[in-house]
């Protein structure tokens, strides 16, 4: 008697949930760390002096020219070789955070540079210092500008979390493969995993649109 899909799903529910939980934590950590780092990258590219900008540019060009999988593998293998014992989870999150930072850096830079110069001049004209200008005039505008792209990057991180299965992190995709190795229902379970990823990412997309609407300036 062929096992029914629902029976199998129910049996595997804990495994699936644990995998999903790990996927979520990988993504969240990568997005948070990557965004913080990315803001520094973006600020350096926009306001830094020649040398800082050069160093940061080289950093982002190398990261963006390298496939994420290579970053993950490199992070995993190189860390153990140089004696920094990172478990696969940490190595993977590090790689994803670095990847995220290069994207967020570009986004922040783009957002800041899109603001017309007149805004800075008007702020100067009423006597604001640079710090005040950045905090009250530039950053709020840049934030609204790059919010959609940032939400997109967040979704990319969820998708990239699947790559950690290659280095043995038991996130959703690896767990799915484990389940399939037991019950051979690859069609159903890959499909199910795909559906879960779709729901999460689609949810992020919708949430992003909602935040965009809520923070939009009336015109």
């Amino acid at each position: 008697m062929a096992p029914s899909l629902f029976d199998q799903l129910w049996l595997a529910r804990n495994v699936i949930l644990s995998g999903l939980g790990l996927t979520v934590s990988i993504s969240l950590l990568a997005i948070l760390a990557g965004s913080v780092l990315g803001v520094f990258v973006g600020l350096s590219l926009t306001y830094g002096n020649r040398w800082l900008r050069l160093v940061v540019r080289v950093y982002t060009d190398i990261i963006r020219g390298t496939p994420v999988l290579v970053l993950v593998l490199a992070s995993y293998y190189v860390s153990s070789a140089v004696g920094v014992n990172l478990d696969p989870f940490s190595a993977g999150v590090l790689a994803l955070a670095v990847f995220c930072s290069s994207h967020v850096g570009e986004i922040v830079r783009g957002g800041l540079q899109a603001i017309p110069k007149g805004q800075t001049e008007a702020a100067k004209a009423i006597g604001l210092t640079f710090g005040q200008t950045f905090a009250y005039v530039l950053w709020p505008q840049a934030l609204r500008q790059f919010l959609p792209a940032w939400v997109n990057t967040a979704a990319e991180m969820v998708k990239a979390s699947t790559l950690l299965s290659v280095i043995g992190v038991a996130e959703l995709l690896l767990r799915t493969q484990e389940i399939i190795s037991r019950n051979f229902m690859s069609l159903q379970f890959y499909f199910f995993a795909g559906a879960l990823y779709f729901v999460v990412n689609y949810g992020i997309e919708r949430f992003g649109k909602y935040v965009e609407r809520k923070t939009a300036v009336p015109s």
């Binding site: 020219g65 995709l173 890959y190």
Partner: protein
């Protein structure tokens, strides 16, 4: 730290890496060409006035863009056989990357199509061209010039996605690098070289795309 850099092992196996890179490029070129054809058709469907065309196109783009490509790759190679579709590694990867590319390029092309003034279509109709002729001789060529910049970054991104083929043991660059890494334990050197090859190739693709842009640019 006790790790001294020694690139000799990597240089000895450099030809394997280059072969892997060649395969990566091959996979990319074929997939992107097919993907571009799919994307163009889907883009026209997305802006069509017939709901029957818009709806499936939207579903296709939305679903693919929200799925991790690795899941698609594994699904195509491991799950499809259960439906009777048996593809070898390279065939299944190319099929996946083509479908994946199609969804992303469709969005790029759609933006390009929307930026073309309606008046051009009307002018074409006025001289008696069929909608199909208008699309192929007027709209598509113009749109292509408009979208070259964003298409360039999409293509580079899709090229990097060929590294996913390593997950199903296709002997492209990442797979070969990993093999060398495991055989030789020269981890830092291997990954530096592999990364350098990818970065260089991406830069090359970008330069080529800029040239294409220049060549196709309309005289001013």
């Amino acid at each position: 730290m006790g790790y001294t850099l020694n690139f000799a092992v990597v240089w000895r196996n450099f030809d394997r890496l280059l072969e892997g890179l060649a395969l990566s490029l091959g996979l990319a070129v074929v997939s992107i060409l097919i993907g571009a054809a799919i994307g163009l058709a889907v883009a026209f469907a997305l802006i069509s006035k017939y709901r029957a065309a818009v709806w499936p196109a939207t579903v296709y783009v939305t679903v693919i863009r929200n799925l991790p490509i690795l899941v698609l790759v594994l699904f195509a190679y491991f799950a499809l056989p259960q439906m009777g579709v048996r593809l070898d590694k390279i065939e299944s990867f190319v099929a996946v990357l083509a479908i994946y590319s199609g969804a992303y390029l469709a969005e790029v092309f759609r933006a390009g199509l929307l930026s073309i003034p309606k008046g051009l279509t009307e002018a074409g109709l006025a001289i008696g061209l069929t909608p199909m002729q208008i699309r192929s001789t007027i709209i598509a060529p113009l749109m292509l010039r408009n979208v070259l910049p964003s298409m360039s970054s999409t293509i580079i991104s899709l090229f990097k996605d060929t590294s996913l083929a390593a997950a199903i043991a296709v002997p492209e660059l990442t797979f070969e690098a990993r093999k060398i890494n495991v055989e030789s334990f020269r981890v830092i050197e291997t990954w530096i070289v592999a990364s350098a090859l990818y970065v260089a190739t991406c830069a090359l693709i970008a330069a080529v795309m800029r040239q294409v842009e220049r060549r196709l640019a309309l005289p001013r």
